[in-house]
Symmetry: C2
């Protein structure tokens, strides 16, 4: 299994509406990209100080399936139209499990 993990921080100018759109748009991807085996996305729960603001954890059966997701035009469109305009920083890891 490949577990893809990415954490974001948003720009100070990002609005609540723009942030909510990230979850709305990413939430459409499991219906569009069947290679996604499990997909958890959302805003930080606010338990700790100093956290990043958003997380995506996506599970795939194989590296090839992960690459389908990474490069999928519907995914790339969410990145370009919804994430990148409010993105301040990004941290990612892929785990091979």
């Amino acid at each position: 299994m490949i577990r893809h993990i990415v954490l974001f921080t948003w720009t100070e100018a990002a609005t609540a509406e723009q942030k909510a759109a990230v979850t709305a748009e990413l939430g459409k991807l499991p219906g569009l990209i069947p290679e996604l085996r499990a997909y958890t996305v959302g805003e930080d729960a606010g338990i700790n100080q100093g956290n990043h603001e958003y997380a995506v954890v996506a599970d795939f059966d194989s590296v090839d399936d992960y690459l389908v997701y990474r490069d999928h035009p519907d995914h790339q469109k969410v990145i370009a139209d919804t994430i990148r305009p409010i993105l301040a920083s990004r941290a990612a890891v892929q785990l091979s499990l």
Copy 2:
């Protein structure tokens, strides 16, 4: 469910032995902290450039169970003795799912 996610980068001086010790020591925690429902840890798979170097994804039934893990002396000892000496940067999110 609470999903705790943390990504690390290591110092340039960190040795392969020190990095391997992180997985060895974290791997003991599920046997010591029964609140841990699922625990995936490991080094980045090397698929993409610019990634962080290490990831921890830990699942709990509740915020209280996550706090038991966060503050558990065996967990704090791994952080102090094994992670902090080679830690360059850390990014974390807790998701409420």
